[in-house]
């Protein structure tokens, strides 16, 4: 199965990013394909490398980056949503890239299923 994943909330405030991460990881480990993970709305905050959670908590920004490194998952931050929230290349975490909303529509066209994680 080819999945497109959409993350609509930032890390920590909502569970959406955790759920999306766990789903994406499980899908990849089961041999499914994840075409792209697209971060929209406050979801763009998942790509902020300045995020520094306490040591005994999960670090979602790093977890996403590790997943991208291991499985070559394409993590795309929406540029319009990102600029509003101060997410720019200077603070973009490893494994993420910034691009346009067209990347979401295109991934949804290419995927068998598009899953939205939000609130």
């Amino acid at each position: 199965m080819k999945f497109g994943i959409v993350v609509n909330e930032g890390p920590f405030t909502h569970q959406a990013s955790d759920s999306a991460y766990l789903f994406t990881k499980a899908a990849l480990e089961k041999g499914h394909q994840v075409m792209r993970v697209f971060f929209y709305y406050d979801g763009v905050n998942n790509g902020n490398k300045l995020s520094s959670p306490q040591a005994d908590d999960r670090n979602l920004v790093k977890l996403w980056g590790d997943l991208a490194a291991e499985h070559k998952v394409d993590l795309v931050i929406c540029v319009a949503a990102a600029l509003r929230r101060g997410i720019k290349d200077e603070i973009l975490a490893e494994g993420f890239r910034i691009s346009g909303l067209g990347q979401l529509i295109e991934a949804s066209m290419a995927a068998d299923r598009t899953l939205v994680f939000g609130d």
Partner: protein, 143 residues
């Protein structure tokens, strides 16, 4: 910024049914504005689209919005662009794209509104029928 070109998918000839579900009031959060940006971008891909307004989302297309006291931009006129896209899609035989603007009847009536209160022409649809339509979609995006 990374190179997008190596990340392109072959979507030639792909035609899907997208539904955009607007379910929140226009200015209490950013969802209404950003989903609108999503809808507008999608037009370039010539996919079928149902733009749906339910719950407080109905207020997004209410006439006479005045945001001056809020200090926020009144983006409601932009919904007319959706109406224009729909009109173009309906009229131009070369564009294989059907756009629908739909308001859920129950949500509209519960808020004391009728179709004349809305800034764009809409199809008013009962929740049960909307539910069936939603089940037929390929991609459902919301905010």
């Amino acid at each position: 910024m990374a190179d997008d070109s190596r990340r392109e998918f072959d979507t030639e000839g792909v035609k899907k049914r997208f539904m955009f579900v607007n379910r929140r009031a226009p200015y209490g959060s950013i969802y209404a504005l950003e989903i609108l940006e999503m809808v507008l971008i999608s037009a370039a891909f010539e996919q079928h689209a149902a733009i749906v307004f339910i719950d407080d989302g109905v207020f997004q297309i209410k006439k006479g919005q005045d945001t001056e006291a809020l200090g926020m931009k009144n983006f409601s006129p932009t919904y007319r662009v959706i109406e224009m896209e729909k009109h173009d899609a309906d009229e131009d035989e070369d564009i294989d794209m059907v756009w629908r603007i739909i308001v859920e009847r129950e949500s509209m009536e519960a808020r004391g509104l009728d179709a004349d209160d809305l800034i764009v022409g809409v199809e008013v649809m009962a929740a049960q029928d909307l539910s069936a339509l939603m089940a037929e979609q390929d991609v459902v995006l919301g905010g």
